[in-house]
């Protein structure tokens, strides 16, 4: 067995002829040596590689065409659509930290902010703030009217289109309607910054902008805004603003084209009875009104 292996190694060139003869001196390797040698002399036909290649090229090859699977565009679109829906919904679920509240006509809403500050949102108003940044930055965006009871802490800012209101901890009312901006301070002190003026309000003081102009307002004694008691109070307020408020509170449309809306009104109207409210506003101004469904028309008492 060993000898056989060594012979194999010899033919594989791993052992030289001398070596194998030395290992097995009694063995006659001449026949193997000779056959190994003469086997090398066998003739193998030489192939003309270039000519063979040319012949090869002349053969007909049925080359298998690679299968082409068309990209299914519809499937692609479906996947894309699902992805878009997933991404956007997850974006709104996880990354949109803006919290907003909105009230409709004739609605109020009581909100508690993350720091336990209280906000009472009057009708037709919108309030939004960033939940995530609330701890660092107590800033609210307000469009409409709201009463704030702010707990003590970092500066609390209410941003409106007409101006910003900054406080530390206090109670105040902000009213921002079309061409009308009013901040009333009920407790502590409030800093109001508008394009025109920067004012610090003490309790009982009011800051009011009508058509962008500062209007002087006498002090008040109330502890909370009247609208919290389902009333709207006015002190030397132009009639058009009172009408706006009536419209908002009762979800009505008032036609005041026949009356002078720049007249000022001082008084209160209730939020609970439309007729009483309209009377409360019209009688002192010597006006009359007609109700036609949601339409209300004001006219001069004397002219009819």
């Amino acid at each position: 067995m060993n000898k056989e292996n060594d012979i194999l190694k010899w033919f594989n060139g791993e052992i030289s002829t001398e070596e194998i003869k030395k290992r097995y001196p009694e063995e006659d390797f001449s026949a193997l040596e000779k056959l190994g040698f003469y086997a090398k002399q066998f003739d193998v036909p030489k192939v003309d590689a270039e000519r063979a290649l040319k012949e090869f090229k002349n053969r007909a090859h049925k080359k298998a065409e690679p299968k082409v699977v068309p990209l299914n565009f519809k499937t692609f679109l479906k996947v894309a659509a699902v992805l878009v829906v997933l991404l956007t919904s997850s974006y709104f679920l996880f990354f949109n930290n803006t919290k907003s509240f909105e009230t409709q006509m004739a609605q109020t809403e009581v909100l508690t902010l993350p720091d336990n500050s209280e906000v009472i949102l009057n009708a037709q108003s919108k309030l939004s703030f960033n939940k995530k940044e609330w701890k660092k930055n107590r800033t609210l965006d307000l469009d409409g009217e709201a009463f704030f009871k702010v707990t003590k802490g970092e500066t609390f800012t209410v941003k409106t289109e007409a101006g910003n209101v900054q406080v530390l901890g206090t109670q105040f009312n902000v009213k921002e309607r079309e061409n009308y901006f009013e901040v009333m301070c009920y407790e502590g002190s409030v800093k109001v910054t508008s394009a025109k003026k920067e004012t610090i309000l003490k309790p009982g003081k009011t800051f009011r902008l009508v058509n962008g102009n500062v209007v002087e307002v006498s002090d008040f004694n109330a502890e909370t805004p009247s609208w919290l008691a389902k009333e709207s109070s006015f002190d030397n307020v132009p009639l058009w603003q009172v009408i706006d408020e009536l419209e908002i509170q009762y979800d009505i449309s008032i036609d005041a084209s026949k009356v002078d809306v720049s007249k000022t009104f001082s008084g209160t109207f209730t939020h609970t009875d439309k007729n009483i409210a309209l009377q409360a506003v019209t009688i002192p101004l010597k006006l009359s009104y007609k109700i036609n469904g949601k339409q209300v028309e004001l006219y001069n008492y004397a002219s009819e």
Partner: protein
């Protein structure tokens, strides 16, 4: 599809591959069938198969694929003829210095015996024996080409040597 697969489908690479291996492949086929024309036909068919399936064949294994295909085609197509190997013209004798007529006669006699004995080998034995002798291939290389184990190659070689030796010494 990897880069190497694509290579074989490129004509330039395929031509290179063809020219490099056509001689060895036709030798291999010749050891099997002992007929030059048949051998070349087998090789051309095998190359054809490679060209047609170029995308599916790994470039690194193309050589083995070639030999395996030649082998399979041979088993399928060619009639198993008695293979008679011819000696090359003007081949040297083992002892080049000895030119005595008796020696030359003796050697010619031996060569004839060997030629006769070659026909007795099986195809598997003959191809291994001749690839080793004529092309000087190591058993490991042969095993790789034929896609069999080195042990199998050694077994075939051993069998071939036994048969050849027995016949030469007996006659």
């Amino acid at each position: 599809m990897t880069k190497s697969d694509a290579k074989l489908c490129e004509e330039a690479y395929f031509n290179e591959f063809y020219l490099k291996h056509v001689q060895h492949a036709s030798n291999f086929a010749y050891y099997k069938c002992g007929d030059q024309d048949n051998a070349l036909d087998l090789v051309q068919d095998a190359f054809s198969k490679i060209w047609e399936n170029c995308a599916k064949i790994d470039f690194a294994k193309a050589k083995t694929y070639l030999f395996t295909t030649v082998n399979n085609l041979f088993l399928n197509k060619v009639k198993h003829n008695k293979v008679v190997m011819e000696y090359a013209k003007a081949a040297p004798y083992i002892d080049e210095n000895n030119e005595s007529p008796e020696y030359l006669l003796e050697e010619e006699e031996f060569k004839k015996k060997l030629q006769a004995a070659m026909a007795l080998l099986s195809e598997a034995q003959r191809e291994v024996f001749l690839m080793n002798r004529i092309e000087g291939k190591k058993y490991r290389e042969i095993a790789e080409l034929l896609n069999v184990s080195q042990k199998a190659v050694e077994k075939r070689m051993s069998g071939a040597l036994k048969i050849l030796r027995k016949h030469i010494e007996n006659i």
